[in-house]
């Protein structure tokens, strides 16, 4: 994985010192809240419902065991013993004291971590496929490009005060596991007919109160032009994006209002101006960054493990976990493991310091020292020998991390909602917990099959409800929490925005409503191989609407 060079170290250390000074001046009264707020936001510090919240970047979701141990340490020393992994592959701490945050950041800097650009109207942490560098279906590892984008976008003076926040996602496989079509820029790394690497470029996707699927403005952008083209997009957005209304300030609105053909023309025009300049990526530099992400030497093909087959036959729960929570690896004899942070009835994405330490230890001993955070709020061990699966599983069971539900109905994305968030209108976590309990039976979950439920506690859609197969949006209605259901959303290579099915449901009704939808799907599917999403796309809203509201 990427290691800081001297410049990175100096840059991050200097930022900690700068923020320490700012916090000191705020506490002493030298800075007002109005002056301090933009400064703390540039360092990932929010003031939430109950306390400050610190969001720490996990660049493209990749970290090693030392870093995970540091996350655990920060949870213990500066927080209340746990953290929350987010849909942007970051981690949030819910209870830090303002005056201690600089110390926490200094400790994080010692393992090459920071909170820079995890909030504010800037280019945020670049996200990537959580199976990057491991997946069997990958054309190339997207992370070197995510790292190049990180270096380019960190404190880029032109893009520090954008009209609104800006999110970039990169995938290196046809199967999109990074939801690139609902990002401001989505990059699909691929090869052209001559075998050269480049990108299909999507812009203007996003969720929030105006959800939009991104428009493809270029089918193939040569690798060497990544930065100049990105800069052209950002420049067009920065100059023309709306600043009069924060709800219309994202690039998706600009693309929508201007039209993708015209935006594309403007981007190409700007790009022509700068493409031969300083931003052209030298091949040597791409290779140098790529080296950091090279697979470990010891990751060599292995023969099939007879012990694995025996263990699977002997232990049906282990067998079910291997079936659901492992993903094909490009190196024979290996898999990527999904460590579910969705225990039945738990808070989606939360992990205790102890659990983080367990994951760090497993990664160090049995996972080539690599860990990923997925945008679905789980952790991943990307490189695992199949022969080691049982040992890993046994330790995960003890730590409460072996729920065999990756991609199933209880693998729910939920934002913190009104339990933590100052912007929320309704709670998300208790709804996720109750749905999880309702469908807790593993045999039933497996029968239901792939089904993504995503829950947001307000219109900002941090819980990705627009792209949930079943999306749930919490609203406040006459002082009560109400939940609106949308169906048919998807954040993969066939992205779609879910359609609202009808009137909302009360807290008491919402879990029954979800169960009604699932039961309708089971009754109407052509075979167990037809997923909920496929069945919905075939059947449309009608049968689901009938089931929920009756035909009257």
């Amino acid at each position: 994985m990427y290691r800081y060079d001297e410049f990175d170290h100096e840059f991050v250390t200097a930022r900690v010192a700068q923020f320490r000074d700012q916090v000191g001046r705020r506490v002493s009264g030298e800075l007002t809240e109005d002056q301090f707020k933009p400064l703390r936001l540039m360092n990932g510090v929010y003031l939430q419902l109950h306390a400050y919240m610190l969001r720490v970047a996990v660049p493209y979701g990749t970290l090693n065991s030392e870093q995970m141990r540091m996350l655990a340490h920060v949870a213990r020393k500066y927080d209340r013993g746990y953290g929350h992994f987010t849909t942007r592959q970051n981690i949030q701490y819910n209870w830090p004291r303002l005056s201690e945050i600089p110390d926490a950041l200094a400790e994080l800097a010692s393992v090459e971590m920071h909170a820079i650009q995890t909030s504010g109207n800037c280019i945020r942490n670049v996200t990537a496929d959580h199976f990057a560098g491991a997946a069997e279906d990958e054309v190339a590892d997207p992370r070197p490009y995510a790292e190049i984008l990180r270096q380019w976008s960190s404190l880029h003076p032109e893009f520090v005060f954008l009209p609104r926040k800006f999110k970039v996602a990169v995938t290196g496989a046809e199967r999109d596991r990074a939801a690139i079509q609902v990002h401001d820029i989505g990059l699909h790394l691929k090869k052209d007919a001559e075998g050269r690497l480049g990108f299909a470029v999507y812009i203007g996707g996003g969720q929030g109160r105006t959800p939009m699927v991104a428009k493809k403005i270029r089918d193939f952008l040569p690798e060497e032009d990544l930065l100049s083209y990105s800069e052209a997009i950002l420049r067009v957005y920065n100059l023309n994006g709306r600043r009069d209304n924060k709800y219309k300030a994202r690039i998706k609105i600009l693309v929508h209002e201007t039209g993708s053909d015209e935006i594309s023309r403007q981007v190409e025009e700007e790009w022509e101006r700068i493409r031969h300049g300083a931003l052209k990526l030298p091949q040597g530099e791409v290779e140098r960054i790529r080296e950091y992400f090279a697979a470990p030497d010891a990751l060599a093909p292995l023969a099939p493990s007879p012990a694995l087959a025996i263990e699977r036959a002997r232990d049906p729960e282990f067998d079910a976990w291997v079936e659901r929570n492992t993903h094909p690896h490009r190196v024979p004899g290996h898999v990527s493991v999904t460590i579910s942070l969705k225990p039945i009835g738990g808070t989606p994405g939360d992990a205790t310091a102890e659990q983080m330490d367990v994951v760090a230890s497993l990664a160090e001993r049995l996972g080539f020292d690599e860990i990923r955070v997925s945008h679905e709020q789980n952790l991943i061990l990307p490189h695992v020998a199949k022969a080691d699966l049982k040992a890993i599983y046994d330790e995960l069971v003890v730590a409460g991390l072996a729920t065999a539900n990756a991609g199933l109905v209880t693998d729910i994305i939920a934002c913190p909602g009104l339990d933590y968030c100052a912007l929320a209108n309704a709670r998300s976590i208790p709804v996720a917990q109750r749905i999880s309990q309702r469908f807790g039976d593993m045999a039933r979950q497996r029968d239901i099959g792939d089904l993504k439920i995503k829950i947001s506690g307000c219109i900002n859609a941090c819980g990705h409800h627009h792209v949930g197969h079943i999306g749930i949006l919490g609203v406040e209605k006459k002082g009560e929490e109400f939940y609106q259901i949308s169906l048919g959303g998807s954040g993969d290579e066939n992205s779609s925005i879910g359609e609202i099915i009808g009137r909302g449901f009360s807290t008491e009704e919402i879990v029954d409503a979800v169960e009604t939808l699932v039961d309708t799907y089971i009754a109407r599917r052509e075979s167990p191989d037809e997923t909920f999403l496929a069945a919905y796309r075939r059947l449309g809203q009608a049968p689901f609407k009938d089931a929920l509201y009756g035909t009257a």
Binding site: E33, H50, N94, L418, G479
Partner: protein, 106 residues
């Protein structure tokens, strides 16, 4: 007519606080000064002064009703804030709670 309370977050630790009768701040809802409408403006001026002085952040008034001598916020959001934490258990306590539920169920 409902009464009012003034709430904010403490500058140093960010936790939820309420303006007290003595003009200070308390983490406890029970200590909150219940403010009649006529006195609200003056109380808000005090609170804003404490914001300027760097003691609390962004004070604002909320509606409350007094139940058995204790003010209770009207809106769910403020009820949750006043409770000092989420409506769900978290961290090790959540794990313990789930384990207890499973044991009970089993």
């Amino acid at each position: 007519m409902t009464d009012k309370l003034i709430t904010a977050n403490h500058l140093g630790d960010g936790l939820v606080v309420f303006l007290t009768a003595a003009g200070g701040w308390s983490y406890k809802l029970a200590d909150a000064r219940v403010i009649p409408e006529a006195e609200l403006e003056a109380a808000l001026a005090i609170a804003k002064g404490q914001h300027e002085a760097g003691i609390v952040v962004d004070p604002y008034e909320i509606e409350a009703t007094v139940v058995e001598g204790i003010p209770v916020p009207v809106r769910l959001r403020e009820k949750i804030r006043a409770a000092g934490g989420p409506t769900v258990t978290y961290g090790e306590a959540e794990i313990a709670e789930r384990a207890a539920t499973l044991k009970h169920a089993g």
